[in-house]
Symmetry: D3
Subunit: 163 residues, 6 copies
């Protein structure tokens, strides 16, 4: 663990960290999250896909567009021209949809926040599209899965954080 929160200046106020001299490298981040719902809601989403009224298609567009808005929403984030965003869905056939997002860039800082925001907005769009039939949905288990590139190197998420 490093010693300090880097986002504060000598007045102990927030700043956008200076990355001017960091190296341009390939950077990739994957993040995940899930939404749990009433089994009948998942059934409806499945039905809809077959009939082309596709909740997940809308959610996916929302997630990709959100990744591009990261620096406008997260105050200390640098603008990063992303070179790739890909979103996958899976579900447990009962009551939970899992969203996995992969984000890539070739830039001076990483894209963890971009991947996490895309996960959040994808999940929230599913909520929005289905809220008329199920307001009690639960969004959870959002975390970085893996990231690579940059000085801090490779990171893999462990369920039990090391102490």
């Amino acid at each position: 663990m490093t010693d300090s929160l880097t986002h504060f200046n000598d007045q102990n106020r927030a700043k956008m960290v200076d990355v001017t001299d960091k190296a341009v490298t390939h950077r990739v981040a994957t993040a995940t999250g899930q939404i749990s719902m009433h089994p009948a809601t998942l059934q409806r989403i499945h039905d809809g896909q077959i009939k082309k009224g596709d909740v997940l298609a809308v959610a996916q567009v929302a997630g990709i567009m959100a990744a591009k808005q990261t620096s406008n929403l997260i105050p200390m984030c640098h603008l990063i021209p992303l070179t790739g965003v890909d979103i996958h869905f899976s579900d447990n056939d009962t009551d939970t949809i899992t969203v996995d997002v992969l984000v890539k860039t070739k830039h001076v800082t990483g894209v963890e926040i971009e991947a996490l925001l895309a996960v959040q907005v994808t999940l929230l769009t599913i909520y929005d599209m289905c809220k008329a039939i199920d307001r009690g949905m639960l969004i959870s288990d959002i975390h970085l899965v893996e990231k690579d590139g940059g000085k801090s190197g490779h990171f893999v998420y462990h369920d039990t954080p090391e102490s």
Copy 2:
């Protein structure tokens, strides 16, 4: 439970639901969510607040600004001029910060999504401000707590959804 996903048109494609004739009423929504972290990270956030390098102050501004961006991020959301947004923080003194958001409007549709997005962005900003010391943070338990106003009436979240 109602019978249909309202966000689809007669071509089974997504649309923005027609709310032209819905009544303008007071509407309020509260949502919650939490972020778990290494105990040393929470300690650092506590220290920072005392020294004025305030992670939560930044996160809170981010959350309030995000609430105003909801219709730009969630594809089928209507633009709603919000009349109030308030964010509260609490923590378990060990490893978890809880965010509670209250959103109000006087409009033709509800503000559940606004409250949930504010929760998500507030939590993600905490992650962003602290990621240099702790990339393994987990965001979870994001859900609507309560909403009131509008035709669908009063909703209170129950841990165990009714069947």
Copy 3:
């Protein structure tokens, strides 16, 4: 025909027209436009829909989100909280897709520009999704179809403008 361009002030410079005292009424506008392409491109879009790689689903989300951005893109447009947006697609089974957009509000000004912008962005998203296989697509025939509500009353587009 009225006598003047309303968007200019007493310095003959552009202004946002004062609509403070106009009545809040139901307003609706429909607009249309089309994109012509290589027959093989339309075939590919048809195939994709069947296989779920749905160009039109993405274009439609883009069009709806664009309608909400109108006042940020068209300098003298007022911000209008839209109450409904619906987009339909049809094609001639050969080489042309037609997009029809319906926009509604209950406000002091009309939503013609919102409908037209949604048409444009929907068409351009189709272009973007297919440009790897067909850069020579042509976007044309974009016009208001009909509008109602407000002081200027009912308007229906005629192919041959009256003189």
Copy 4:
């Protein structure tokens, strides 16, 4: 013609194409489009320019600003820092204004969509500024004129697409 729509992933869902390893090169794109109107409307625009109430000046600012918003409006577009945008107007002295847009960058992907969106928003701004006197204007003939740079090389638009 290439074989596939590149914007879909292995779930046949939309993705932002991975351009991480594409070369940074000079890229330029020109696009065009036109708006037809009542002859009296074009006369009014001409008069306005002389008197400084300049419809085209507003439209041009709108077009340049829109080019910079492309990745926020077109879902699968990459953010591209543009290095130059230039818009020219011409008209047939009767009833039609033509808009030509040139966009440049030095980046890993092309700027065709940026040029086309700038054309569209420039034309729509002319419509908006004049709609009080002429709602029947027609926007048409929007297409890429020429593009250069990148792996797909040089493209020139032909009125009759090759079969």
Copy 5:
């Protein structure tokens, strides 16, 4: 003078003030500001206007569009659908341009910040358009001139604030 900063909640953190129950009334605000420059720069702006290369036309569009972005830039500002924005320029024929902005709405809160932001962005656009020939320009004297409507009533700016 009232007793408290209204933008803080019971945790002494910033909130968006609750205006749910405030009355919808006509509200108007005017603001002003100026930019001083090298006399040769003002001469060049004057020349440009005559030749149609109009710095002020661009600045004015920027100011109007900025007024509409106020709630996206100023964290605790409510979104207000503006009903009119008008910008006037005057200069002392030597080295200073003055910008005056009038903003109107019919809403639950005032538009002072919208008017002030429009002044700032109009002035900064003049700076941007001329910075190649004069980087030493000075922006100053930005203040509210007058506002009316709402519970706080009529306000007129006095050079010497009362004690």
Copy 6:
């Protein structure tokens, strides 16, 4: 002093200057500005900071986020991925707060406008947070302090511009 306004094309209309072939270099800009207020208002801000209701913390987040919005607000500005933004506050203990902003990038154009816009929005946020108790605040003395990098080289602001 150079001879021409670079932001105009051969039709004497505004364009985004072509910077395609300019060199990527380190660029830094500092800008400043101040806001004068009633002494009791500054006292309230001081008190608030101690009690954690921190006006300046909100203003600072607003300023940093505004720097990232520059190309969306100032029409002819290029999008520049900023590599660092830092804002400092000082005050005269009586009635005036001074804001100093430092912006960095490694790009083909400078960041003067980004620094100036961050100053403006930081100051206006202070105004917004305090306007309930003091509408007569005055924003002034906004100017570039120093910039370095790029072909135009080093610039330092002098109170008395050279003739």
